[in-house]
Each structure stands twice: as structure tokens, then as C-alpha cells.
Amino acid sequence: AQTVTQSQPEMSVQEAETVTLSCTYDTSESNYYLFWYKQPPSRQMILVIRQEAYKQQNATENRFSVNFQKAAKSFSLKISDSQLGDTAMYFCAFTNAGKSTFGDGTTLTVKP
């Protein structure tokens, strides 16, 4: 069975600063994908960033980047220059061909 653990239930950051959200996972699979999704208050879940396990290079998407450590089974999300609109619940997710597993999320609050 695969598991995804987000050890930080809540975090806060000042506007314009940088914050890192942690995620660890456990799997025996070698071929999988990792994702970070964002769920703003009362709004739909949307993709933030995606990482293929076979790629060593960390994915980046504008102000969002990941630190993927395959051996340690760690997949953290860094948000640079935080904006008020980044306030949301962030979910780490693991997908292989047969199953998708989500963590329980980290609630991020960006303070003005």
C-alpha cells in the first residue's frame, strides 16, 4: 500500500516571503508521478506542479518549485514571493498506473 504524509497541518507566511511545505511518501513502485494541488477556500482543486519520478531535475512553475529526493521519498513544495492569493489548502498526491493517493493537506495562510 502507498501512503502520503504531510506533517504540517497548518503554516503561515508573510506576504513576499518564501515558504516550504513538506511531503513524504512510501511506495514499492518505481514508476510513479507526484503532484501538488491547491484547494482555495470554497473553490475547486487545481494543479500546482507535477514531477515524474524518473526525472532527476526538480520541476519548477513560476514561483513554485519542488525538491524531489527519490531515495528519501521526499517531495517538498517551495513557494517564493508568497502572495495573498496563495492562501489555500495544499495537497501532495502520488499516482501510479492503478491508484492515486492524497495526503491530508497543509493549510497555508499568507499574511499581509
Binding site: 502520503v4 504531510q6 508521478y33 503532484f35 494541488y37 475547486q44 482543486m45 487545481i46 494543479l47 507535477r50 495537497f91 499516482t95 501510479n96 498506473a97 492503478g98 491508484k99 492515486s100 493517493t101 492524497f102 495526503g103 491530508d104 493537506g105
Partner: protein, 113 residues
């Protein structure tokens, strides 16, 4: 392109009643997912379809939950009979294929009283 559509958006029923949710995925998406999201938790995968075949339904309570994907497009999720612990948001998502990012619908908030 149109997003994932779900209906109804809200539903209140009494325990032991039945309820059905509908999902229309993004056109051309082969993979469809149903999740249950309890307040304060991450989405839990109930069932995953690849076209009109089931890929995984290991966490679907099959004594009360059922789902089908008609002609590999629309999908319905049914609960019969409902229990209090079924109160949650039911999310539908679709992806182009396995391993691709998922696009989520707005969800159906179910309250069982």
C-alpha cells in the same frame, strides 16, 4: 475547454435514503476518478475508471456504494442506503490518461441527517 461538471452541488438526505451523483468529465479524458473528502482531510479515492473499465475500487464500500461510467464518458456514483458517516464532499476528477494531472469538478456536498 469546458471543465469537469458535477451535479447536484448540494444534497441533504436522511439516513437510510439513497442518493446519486453525476459527473461529466472533460471531453476526451480517458480516466475518471471519484473521491470522498471529509472535512479537514485529503480526498480518498473511491473508484477509478479507465474508459469504461474499473482500474481500482479497493476503497469503495461495495455494500452501499456503486458507480458506473456510461460509454466511457459520464459517470454516476450512488449510495444506498446512506449512513451518517457518508456526510462529505464527493469530488469527481478526470485526466487525459493514467499518470496525467487530474482536473477536478466543484464537488457535491452531501449531508446525511
Amino acid at each position: 475547454e469546458a471543465g469537469v461538471a458535477q451535479s447536484p452541488r448540494y444534497k441533504i438526505i436522511e439516513k437510510r435514503q439513497s442518493v446519486a451523483f453525476w459527473c461529466n468529465p472533460i471531453s476526451g479524458h480517458a480516466t475518471l476518478y471519484w473521491y470522498q473528502q471529509i472535512l479537514g482531510q485529503g480526498p480518498k479515492l473511491l473508484i477509478q475508471f479507465q474508459n469504461n473499465g474499473v482500474v481500482d475500487d479497493s476503497q469503495l464500500p461495495k455494500d452501499r456504494f456503486s458507480a458506473e461510467r456510461l460509454k466511457g464518458v459520464d459517470s454516476t456514483l450512488k449510495i444506498q442506503p446512506a449512513k451518517l458517516e457518508d456526510s462529505a464532499v464527493y469530488l469527481c476528477a478526470s485526466s487525459r490518461d493514467l499518470f496525467y494531472e487530474q482536473y477536478f469538478g466543484p464537488g457535491t456536498r452531501l449531508t446525511v441527517t
